[in-house]
């Protein structure tokens, strides 16, 4: 899939490579890069996932990075059923009503 100029996209950058991490960072974090994501309107005529592109962010700044998503959207939700919490409400109402 290709994105055309003006499409809302998400870009990715490496801020610091593993060898450039700050001295106070824990060992596991030192082994990985520090990454950054941003979003904006594509300024290139056309681009595919993985291309280096330039975007204009929502507040009008130019940022460059690797194209990782076209028309990105949120998928966070209310999670799955958590059977472990279902006792709480009933228990509380019962306890409150006890002796009343």
């Amino acid at each position: 899939m290709k994105a055309k100029k003006g499409t809302w996209v998400r870009i990715h950058n490496i801020v610091l490579e593993p060898g450039q991490r700050a001295p106070q960072v824990p060992e596991d974090t030192k082994k990985v890069a520090m990454e950054m994501w941003d979003k904006g309107f594509l300024l290139n005529e056309e681009a595919s996932i993985g291309d280096e592109v330039t975007v204009e962010t929502y507040i009008g700044r130019e940022m460059t990075g690797r194209l990782v998503e076209i028309e990105p959207y949120y998928t966070h939700d209310y999670g799955r059923c958590i059977p472990e919490i279902l006792y709480i409400g009933r228990q509380l109402r019962e306890l409150l009503q006890e002796g009343q």
Partner: protein
């Protein structure tokens, strides 16, 4: 000066970038040693209470409802000894425009930014503050850039933080998201320098003073409602600004407001390193936790300004912690007994209050000083789903056996919600030691000793004894 963008070069320009982006010369308050003139900094750079009330009301911030939690009080009394069980009140800060008390902080910062002529504002936060800044920026026509630590190296993001990114974008902000690491501050400096925006830090005098109206309102509402000031105020503590501002609001209220005990509350995340890539997603709270609360209490000047205006040990009378399972249970309690569905992170103080009320007399009152909005991601279900997906066991039993990063233990019944005291003297001693280490002072001056006594709500004798041990 090296103008390059290397980590070292940018960090070396920290002071210069800060001066331009906040418009405060912090040097003028320094003594050259450990002490600095905190009160003068708050007075000269901030606004007075009346001005802040006016500024906040311009954008619909503040004047939130104070609710009495009658069912929770009744339940707490069932577990309290005879004659015990204080009335629990809740300040419903979720009613602010951006859904949390952080709107108060952002309101003052952004008013100030606009007054100074900045075209935009920037804040580094993965919490509710981002949404607050973005919302205020929308109202004032300022551009807004939020920098947010969100993902681990596998690209997995905390659902609570992702929701806050969505909310910032909903208000027209740009959100720069990063993987785990304190070098976020480096990135923050780069973009402050590039944009020339105002640093709407949580820790400037404006950011803290904005909370004073919250303390003041609580005092006023409690007097109107019950005829007197509360006997305790419980505040969720992370960066320290919430407790500092609330306590200062009580002091400004007068009439004994300075005597009201200020209780800090954090959710216990002992053992989890906040900058660890592999532990980042093993927690179910991204704020209000001990991983911020303890380091920021014992060294507040670690923040993104040279001198933090958030100094919780200056005002705190007790510091109580609860485990994650207890806060999730309390979140259900608020929804199911009081009909108030609110975000879990804002309910840390609520869980503590349920326990604390049982120690207090039945004719006393205590106030839980905030709530926060809830929504997709920022809710008990997605947070527990995420915990399970990251290998955390959800158990029902004694929450005191909970091991952060391994399990979450929901209390078998409400009698098992028991807040635990942190040793406040130990934290005060750690703070004094940190001052000596970070400021490289082995012989504190008499002025330092006086400052440290004030900044730890202790005595000069206590400070001297700690200094002796650390010399």
């Amino acid at each position: 000066m090296d103008r390059s963008m290397s980590y070292e070069a940018v960090m070396a320009r920290n002071n210069e970038i800060m001066r331009k982006s906040i418009g405060i010369d912090f040097e003028q308050f320094e003594s050259g040693s450990i002490a600095f003139d905190f009160e003068r900094m708050m007075e000269e750079t901030g606004y007075c209470l009346e001005e802040m009330i006016a500024i906040q009301s311009e954008t619909g911030v503040g004047n939130t409802p104070l609710l009495e939690l009658k069912n929770m009080t009744a339940l707490a009394r069932k577990y309290a000894p005879a004659g015990k069980g204080a009335r629990i009140f809740l300040k419903d800060e979720a009613a602010n425009p951006s859904g949390s008390f952080k709107a108060r902080r952002a309101a003052i910062s952004l008013y100030h930014a606009q007054k100074l002529g900045y075209k935009g504002v920037m804040a580094a936060t993965s919490g509710n503050y981002g949404a607050a800044v973005a919302s205020q920026a929308a109202m004032r026509g300022l551009k807004c850039l939020i920098l947010q630590e969100c993902y681990d190296s596998q690209g997995k993001g905390q659902p609570e933080i992702i929701e806050k990114a969505r909310k910032c974008e909903a208000y027209g902000a740009e959100v720069l998201q990063t993987s785990v690491g304190p070098e976020l501050f480096y990135l923050f400096l780069i973009h402050l320098e590039k944009t020339g925006f105002f640093n709407a830090s949580l820790y400037t005098p404006f950011g803290i003073a904005g909370v004073e109206t919250l303390g003041y309102e609580i005092a006023d509402q409690m007097v109107q409602r019950t005829g007197r000031l509360p006997d305790a105020v419980v505040t969720t503590n992370a960066g320290g600004g919430n407790l500092t501002g609330t306590a200062r609001g009580f002091i400004k209220y007068g009439k004994g407001g300075d005597k009201v005990p200020m209780i800090g509350a954090s959710v216990n995340l002992k053992g989890l390193h906040m900058a660890s890539d592999t532990q980042f997603n093993r927690k179910s709270f991204t704020t209000g936790h001990s991983g911020f609360g303890i380091p920021f209490s014992t060294w507040p000047d670690r923040s993104d300004v040279p001198r933090s205006a958030g100094r919780p040990l200056r005002y705190m009378d007790r510091y109580l912690i609860v485990n994650q399972g207890e806060v999730f249970y309390a979140t259900e309690m608020l929804a199911q007994l009081e009909g108030l569905e609110r975000g879990p992170a804002g309910n840390v103080a609520l869980a503590v209050a349920f326990s604390l009320a049982q120690e207090m007399d039945a004719d006393q009152t205590l106030v839980v000083q905030e709530t926060e909005y809830t929504g997709a991601g920022k809710h008990i279900q997605p947070q527990l789903t995420f915990a399970k997906d990251n290998g955390i066991d959800i158990l029902i039993g004694d929450p005191k056996e909970e091991i952060s990063g391994k399990n979450i233990i929901l209390p078998k019944d409400p009698s098992m919600i028991k807040a635990v005291d942190l040793d406040l003297d130990r934290l005060k001693a750690m703070y004094i030691k940190n001052c000596m280490t970070h400021r490289q002072v082995s012989n504190p001056t008499p002025q330092d000793i006086q400052f440290l006594a004030e900044d730890t709500k202790s005595t000069e004798a206590f400070v001297k004894s700690v200094i002796e041990k650390n010399r």
